[in-house]
């Protein structure tokens, strides 16, 4: 193929100057730990505490995933992160007709409290922090988690972890929604309110740009849409009657760690700065913990290639380094085989070792924001901040994020960016090593296979559960939940009662569907 003329732009298309020099107009940011936290939220950063190494993991049955968790903890992983399968994400039980072929394929299958009990068997929830990637039915799965903690005898105040629970980015990017936006936002607000009152160490939401970026957005779009989503959640919680500093310290964020090294670091620094200003100026927050943006980072799944899969280890290492230099609080590194399948044990171990090498051998964790003061990075941080604030103002002018989603605005912006990028790859303007340049024959790698036995196992367990439980109690709990959903009560206590009675995820979501309806999107090409 022809080699196109080299373009000096970031992967998102931002032009890069031939040289960056001292700019007297550009004021250097305050030290780490000081407002607006551009250089990091702590004065000592990783000297005080390393980031949490948290590998997103889940496959097949809860029994098999539980074994993987014990393995990862034994390998030195410091937190858990649960991946659920598609039926669970969409609020269907494993034995639903639409679950056929999908059970356990993209994560662990969890249809009831019984499955959640198995998932965390032998894992003390008072000591291990757990992140759960679940969105539309997040409050249901969180209720199951809280019920498992009760059974383990762990007090709620000791529970620490994160619920993803970010429904807005589902309408924008990942498309795993069940209910329409407004009732969904009510459920999210219920969890934020419940968390503020009962689980002071648990993050009830992880406001996520990761999936926006995976859907093909630019770095600036990822940043702007995520922070504008954050503003939307804050508005709803305040509308509910909470004071900003009651819940904002527990809002957490989740960003992509993509391939353009400096652009990513600039993105994380700009994120902290914008959020701190939003908290102080837009909401009058006086608690510095509200203003400190904490984030998890995951390396970019969409950057992994099917061709020459070992190159993915190198990509992931550089992306993880960007996240660390950008001041992430926790990190997931993708495994080399993830362009094909969920990771096998060998691959996931190598991904974890990548983080350990960065943390313990590379020296990059020895001082906070080691790139601070770089002429280039400081300029790029400022440009990123300005471009993101432009988008935020446009969405404000539309009447907020739900209005923007209704109008298809973020969806169309992302689709445009994604198509432009693909065209650049196609024309050779963008090089992807091993795909459109430097091709060679692939070495086959060993892959994790998930067969239909998981589905049959889950179906059998569900049938036995429906037989064994007190079905009268289940019906009562679901009826009470429906009444709560029709009114304005916080739904969390009703969800807790329903899961304790072993109502299944599908039954609970059906009850909520009957009240809230289901969402159908208009496709924006």
């Amino acid at each position: 193929m022809k080699t196109a003329e080299r373009q000096f732009t970031t992967i998102s298309g931002v032009p890069i100057e031939p040289l960056y020099e001292p700019d007297p107009q550009l004021e250097p940011p305050p030290p780490p730990g000081e407002f607006p936290y551009t250089r990091g939220i702590h004065r000592d950063m990783y000297r005080g505490k390393l980031w949490t190494m948290r590998q997103f993991s889940g496959f097949a049955t809860p029994e098999e995933t539980n074994r993987r968790y014990h393995y990862l903890l034994a390998q030195g992983q410091t937190g858990l992160s649960v991946a659920f399968d598609l039926p669970t994400l969409m609020g269907y039980d494993a034995d639903h007709a639409l679950s056929e072929g999908e059970v356990g394929k993209c994560g662990a299958s969890v249809s009831s409290l019984e499955d959640m009990e198995i998932l965390f068997q032998g894992i003390p929830l008072g000591d291990v922090t757990v992140s759960m990637t679940i969105n539309s039915p997040a409050s249901v799965l969180w209720a199951m988690y809280l019920a498992v903690a009760e059974k383990q005898g762990v007090e709620r105040v000791r529970l620490s972890g994160t619920l993803q629970n970010d429904i807005l980015k589902e309408y924008i990017a990942q498309k795993e929604y069940i209910f329409p936006p407004r009732p969904s936002m009510r459920l999210v607000t219920d969890t934020i309110e419940f968390g503020a009152r009962h689980t002071p160490r648990f993050n009830p939401i992880s406001i996520s740009g990761y999936h926006i970026r995976e859907a093909g957005s630019t770095a600036v779009q990822e940043l702007a849409f995520t922070l504008r989503d954050g503003i939307e959640y804050v508005d709803w919680a305040i509308e509910r009657g909470l004071a900003v500093d009651e819940f904002a310290p527990r809002l957490s964020f989740f960003f992509n760690a993509h391939s353009d090294f400096f652009e990513e670091i600039a993105k994380y620094r700009a994120a902290r700065k914008i959020w701190a200003q939003v908290m102080r100026e837009r909401y009058g927050s006086r608690n510095e913990r509200s203003a400190k943006l904490r984030f998890h980072a995951q390396t970019a799944g969409c950057s992994l290639t099917w061709q020459q899969p070992y190159n993915n280890v190198v990509r992931t290492t550089l992306q993880a380094l960007a996240a660390v230099l950008g001041g992430a609080q926790s990190l997931h590194t993708n495994s080399l085989d993830e362009a094909y399948a969920l990771p096998g044990e060998h691959a996931v171990t190598l991904a974890l070792r990548t983080q350990q090498v960065l943390a313990y051998e590379s020296g990059v964790a020895n001082t906070p924001d080691p790139l601070g003061g770089s002429y280039f990075l400081e300029k790029l941080t400022l440009q990123t901040e300005e471009a993101a604030n432009d988008y935020i103002r446009r969405i404000d002018a539309m009447g907020g994020m739900i209005a923007a989603i209704d109008a298809g605005f973020p969806q169309t912006e992302i689709a445009g960016a994604s198509y432009r990028y693909q065209r650049e790859v196609e024309s050779g303007e963008r090089t992807i090593v091993g795909v459109n340049r430097f091709q060679s024959a692939d070495q086959p790698i060993e892959l994790l296979q998930i067969d239909e036995a998981s589905a049959r196992h889950q179906e059998k367990k569900l049938a036995a559960l429906r037989e064994r439980r007190d079905n009268g109690q289940v019906r009562q709990a679901l009826a009470a939940l429906e009444r709560a959903a029709q009114g304005t009560d916080n739904t969390m206590p009703f969800l807790l009662d329903a899961v304790r009675a072993y109502a299944t995820l599908g039954e609970i979501c059906d009850s909520l569907r009957s009240v809230f309806g289901v969402y159908q999107e208009t496709a924006h090409l």
Binding site: Y92, G101, E102, C106, E170, E214, A215, A341, I432, L525
Partner: protein, 133 residues
């Protein structure tokens, strides 16, 4: 004048990751084809019904979740039942080599794995569909 090739781009299963489907739909449209995009979570029945209504020559299925072995054979079976065996079915997504071979043996015209170029997909469809005057 020749009639443009009509393609139904469909996203079956529970997965919502539609980046690929949308990029392909735009690329086929830019190549002069008439593209109907079904949107998300289409059952095989809905897809074949739409293909019949829209009188398409090609169905493109985008599947990333690993559910292809449950979904694709069902689409092929329904097409045969409807006497629509001449509609070309192409599949794109995360399809392991051995599954791709098996799907082709069952009647899938082509499987495009990650990294396949838009150009190769356009060219394949052009070559696979007989020209209608």
């Amino acid at each position: 004048m020749t009639r443009p090739i009509r393609v139904l781009v469909a996203k079956p299963g529970l997965d919502g990751h539609d980046r690929g489907a949308k990029v392909i739909a735009r690329a086929l449209r830019d190549a002069g084809m008439e593209v109907i995009y079904t949107g998300l979570r289409q059952t095989p029945e809905m897809i074949v019904h739409a293909a019949l209504q829209e009188d398409v020559q090609v169905i493109g299925l985008s599947i990333l979740s690993g559910a292809h072995n449950a979904i694709v054979p069902r689409v092929l079976e329904l097409l045969r039942e409807q006497d629509m065996g001449d509609v070309k079915v192409v599949v794109g997504g995360i399809i392991p080599d051995e599954d791709a071979e098996a799907l082709k043996r069952q009647g899938v015209a082509a499987v495009f794995q990650p990294g396949a170029s838009l150009d190769s997909i356009v060219s394949f469809i052009r070559s696979a569909v007989p020209v209608e005057l």
